[in-house]
Amino acid sequence: MIVPLRNNRTFEWVDRFAQKYSHRINFQLVDFSKLTIAEQIKTSANTRGMFGCEGAAFANILFMQGNSCVVPVSNEPYRFIFHSSLAKYIGHRFTPVHLDSSGSPSLTEDDVLRFLEVS
């Protein structure tokens, strides 16, 4: 499960979640900005999902196998549509996590975990 690294629009909840459940899910932190485009494609093609702070790295869901899971996290819900629409076209499973003004997620950790573990 890829967790894209970002320099801005980052959310502590993502880090806490990934650390807390690293024994159950094989999270791989990836800084796509350090990879060539060929490496980005290869890395994306070899994963079954992407979870983390919403951003441009989610464009790489274009290169993931169909029926992968896509879980962007953001406090700006309109941003999810960038990725939900693309996910729909490709046939990925999509579940966004909306953080409210206090940083609390719209889904329970169990719900997110269940969705990620199916992948």
């Binding site: 060539t36 485009i37 494609i41 070899n46 464009a59 274009l62 290169f63 993931m64 939900s84 629409s85």
Partner: protein
């Protein structure tokens, strides 16, 4: 003895201009045959009629579209095309290319679809293709790797100052639309776009390439 007038051989301005309009999602293209491009303009026969506004590639969320290409009539722009040109050119513009998302989904993928459509449907653009970014729409920020990424998918880097004669020139692209157009517009779903997205994935996604190979082996 003074040299006489230089003979004009062959046509030196485009006498063939095709407008391509498709819907679902919308496509507006201009296709020019055998013409010259210079100084952000293109030479056409004075009698050539272009009705309606020129197509534009990118319409931002809040601003009206801008047509960047100038149509020059042949009298103002004489260029000798001899021997006949063999290269093809796609003219495009960009916006928001400091973001990999916009670069890939708003520009590169649509340009690839445009080229493949022209290859498959009209049998053109099957040779050397140049790419000319006529404008960045005032968006100066750029990924350092833009040209590398562009070349990976389209086989060649784009230039920002085209000058020369071309066999086919296209202005406009498939699709001046993306999966998500903007926060103030409704989300739409087009089967035609999905089909071309699948073609793109068949070309560039390792997992899809394996599927394609297996299908060919059956």
């Amino acid at each position: 003895m003074l040299p006489g007038p230089k003979p004009i051989v062959g046509q030196y301005f485009s006498q063939e201009i095709y407008q391509i309009h498709l819907d679902l999602p919308r496509v507006d293209l201009l296709l020019f045959k055998n013409c010259a491009v210079r100084n952000r303009g293109i030479a056409v026969n004075r009698s050539a009629l272009i009705s309606g506004p020129l197509p534009t590639m990118y319409q931002s969320w809040t601003e009206a579209p801008v047509a960047h290409l100038k149509i020059e009539h042949s009298d103002d722009f004489p260029v000798l095309l001899e021997p006949p040109p063999q290269r093809d050119l796609i003219i495009f513009d960009t916006w928001g290319t400091s973001s990999y998302y916009h670069l890939l989904l708003d520009h590169i993928e649509p340009l690839w679809i445009t080229r493949e459509y022209l290859r498959q449907s009209l049998g053109i653009f099957d040779g050397l293709v140049d790419y000319y970014r006529i404008s960045n729409n005032g968006y100066q920020s750029e990924l350092e790797t833009t040209l590398d990424i562009f070349q990976h998918f389209l086989g060649k880097r784009f230039v920002e100052d085209a000058d020369g004669a071309y066999r086919n020139v296209v202005y406009g692209y498939f699709f001046s639309y993306r999966p998500y157009l903007g926060p103030n517009l409704p989300e739409l779903f087009f089967l035609n776009y999905q089909r071309w997205l699948s073609e793109f994935r068949l070309q560039f996604c390792p997992s899809q390439i394996r599927v394609k190979t297996q299908l060919h082996c059956l």
